[in-house]
Amino acid sequence: MLGLNKKDFSLLIVVAALAFFAPIILNIFPKDSALSFFNGGYPDLMQRFAIFGIFAIGFNILFGLTGYLSFGHAAFLGVGSYAAVWMFKLLSYNVVPAIILSVIVAALFSVVIGYVSLRRSGIYFSILTLAFAEMSYRLAYSVLTPLTNGETGLQVYTNDPQILKGDGPSVPHLFGLEMRARTELDIGPWEFTFPVGYYLCAVILVISFYIAIRIFRSPFGLTLRAIKSNQNRLRYTGMNPKPYMLTAFVISGMYAGLAGGLLAAMDPLAGAERMQWTASGEVVIMTILGGAGTLIGPILGAGTIKYLENVFSKMNEGLLHQWFSFLPDFMEDGVIWVVSKFTGEGWHLMLGALFMIVIIFLPGGLIEGGQRLMNAIGMGKKKDEQSNSAKSEPAE
């Protein structure tokens, strides 16, 4: 169906269902229960799941398929955001032209940066992409301030032209449908929020995912995997790896631009910090955490990181005391001392440790972890062979 085989189609359905029902699934705990702390179903976080999911899907097309590790993809996300906000400033708050332009601008940037960076491979490629991204970041903060509004961030002012605005809303909207509009649904102790902005992101996420599946299964995707495997053989087989690499680079750059455009559509503000190399590092972490080269891994990785970031960073000591109050005092203090190092402000420690554990023990990411778990409990033994060839292609 839709040009997919049965297995891929069911994967797409799963992702679509997860995306569609996320506001319910993520708010599974009743709002007054102690566990409601772990709910992630608020609009801002859900939008981030979807947007960074798109970013990671795109990054995976480059890194997962070809093995080229770019340390500068945040630059494309950044220019995507700037392009979108410029569209808001010049035309109107309608998100459609903004998102389209963000993809186009990111594509142009990635053609230039990709063309130069792809002249080298291995760590040299990584350093080149890193250098370009750092240059973009630093210039956006300083010399390019007329274009980027520097550290204040690019935003829409009332005296901006907005030539197509007319009587339209003064917030980002989709042909009049405001991004921040939402429907709330109370069922007994549960409370669910269905935001418009999230659903726009979710629909785009599902489409992006669908396109990614098609790319993975296409002759182009196969060629990219062949590039990762043996460029030398590929050249003597009559293919020119360079344009394939560049295409993959540009496609992943466009995904990043799309993610940047969506970030701006959710909150019409674009800042240079989105382009810093640490932001590029984040998408690498997401992709690998989930499982580079797998279809669904990057989405999982993005979701996991954004969820942990939100949940762990808001755990403070007061909350921990509440939770561990059942322990005897001396143990409570000990446990809290340890846990507090990994939560709240210390959540980066948790991130670093988690990331190390995944790289050491699960080079295939969470997906591999899931598969091993399935195998361990005797399920999916049969599926293993199939999924090896069809789905999971660990980082290397």
């Binding site: 002249r119 760590i123 080149l128 370009f132 750092e134 190399w277 210390g346 440790a353 190390m356």
Partner: protein, 343 residues
């Protein structure tokens, strides 16, 4: 002319920090074939060795002085460092004053130990893994190390001054026949440069003139063959990792007075030092040192008003620009060997 000389001095000094870090990175890469993204963190830990020692030396006992009050209006608690009590106030003050140079003694064993633990506990499992995995696991380690330091020392920079004897600056200009105040340079930065030169010279001499070093150099050139000769190259490589960690750590100890150490300083240097290594040529020790000084000097020139007025913002991007140009024109960096890290 004066400002030109001044910026060369600046560049040499900046370059010594880059060169020291890049040297350690290259030792690890050249011998073990591992790309260590946690190397910046080792530099940072070195700087915090200086902080720790100066805090340990300042450990104090408390006495209540009823004649004075503190900010809440309660009797003032006066803290006196134990060293004052043991050695008398003057000698005690001198010891605290010399905390940073003394920290070198403390840092060497600590850094070597950290290097050993890192290599045996983590890195050795990654020799056969792809470079991307090495980069990523050491990146994770760098985050963990810097977060541990942040949890213990806070997020703010910790001022760690040089000994009083080395504070202030020296007027080079007079010495070279210029007017006063034209070419001045801080004493401590000159110490740093000299220190870097000694360390770099020491490492090269060690590799050049000891049998140990010869084996390691041979191993850098062709690991398998040396392994076949029945030499336990792994053990030597562990030692090399310890040595590289010590070089990074010492670079950090001595850097503490130049910029107050903070938990993030490793990451700040990491990206730069990778650029330095790549520009020098992965796996080439002289390349790393040369590129360190070259980039330091170029960075200093780019920050000159005369240059900035022609190309605004050039100081923001000079390092990266140079890196891109060198990588495109000399694919293996300035002194890189063929076939290193190209897959």
């Amino acid at each position: 002319m004066g400002s030109f000389i001044l910026q060369i001095l600046n560049g040499l000094d900046k370059g010594s920090a880059y060169a020291l870090i890049a040297l350690g990175l290259t030792l690890i890469f050249g011998t073990l074939g591992v790309v260590n993204f946690a190397h910046g963190a080792l530099f940072m830990i070195g700087a915090f060795c200086a902080v720790t020692l100066s805090r340990m030396l300042s450990l104090s006992f408390e006495e209540v002085d009823p004649t004075k009050t503190d900010f809440l209006g309660q009797p003032l608690v006066v803290k006196t460092p134990y060293v004052y009590d043991w050695f008398g106030p003057e000698a005690g003050a001198a010891i605290i004053d010399w905390a940073v140079p003394l920290a070198i003694l403390m840092a060497i064993p600590i850094m070597i130990a950290i290097g050993f633990i890192m290599e045996r506990g983590l890195i050795k499992h990654f020799y056969k893994r792809p470079h991307a995995d090495q980069i990523l696991v050491t990146f994770g380690l760098a985050i963990v190390l810097q977060e541990i330091v942040k949890a213990n020392f806070g997020a703010n920079p910790v001022p760690t001054p040089a000994p009083t004897a080395f504070q202030g600056s020296f007027d080079f200009g007079i010495w070279l026949g210029f007017d006063p105040n034209i070419i001045i340079y801080p004493y401590w930065r000159m110490v740093y440069f000299a220190f870097a030169a000694v360390i770099i010279g020491g490492v090269f001499a060690f590799l050049q003139f000891t049998t140990f070093g010869m084996v390691v150099r041979a191993g850098m050139a062709d690991r398998e063959t040396v392994g076949l000769l029945g030499i336990n190259i792994d053990k030597r490589f562990t030692i090399m990792f310890g040595l590289a960690a010590a070089v990074a750590g010492l670079a950090g100890v001595m850097y503490a007075p130049i910029n107050s150490p903070n938990f993030h300083m490793g990451m700040d240097f990491l990206v730069l030092s990778f650029v330095v290594v790549v520009v020098g040529g992965m796996g080439s020790l002289p390349g790393a040192v040369l590129a360190g000084f070259l980039l330091g000097i170029l960075e200093s020139f780019a920050s000159m008003n005369e240059v900035k007025s022609i190309i605004p913002g050039i100081d923001q991007i000079i390092i990266y620009l140079v890196a891109i140009v060198i990588l495109l024109t000399r694919p293996r960096g300035l002194m890189g060997r063929k076939g290193v890290m190209e897959d």
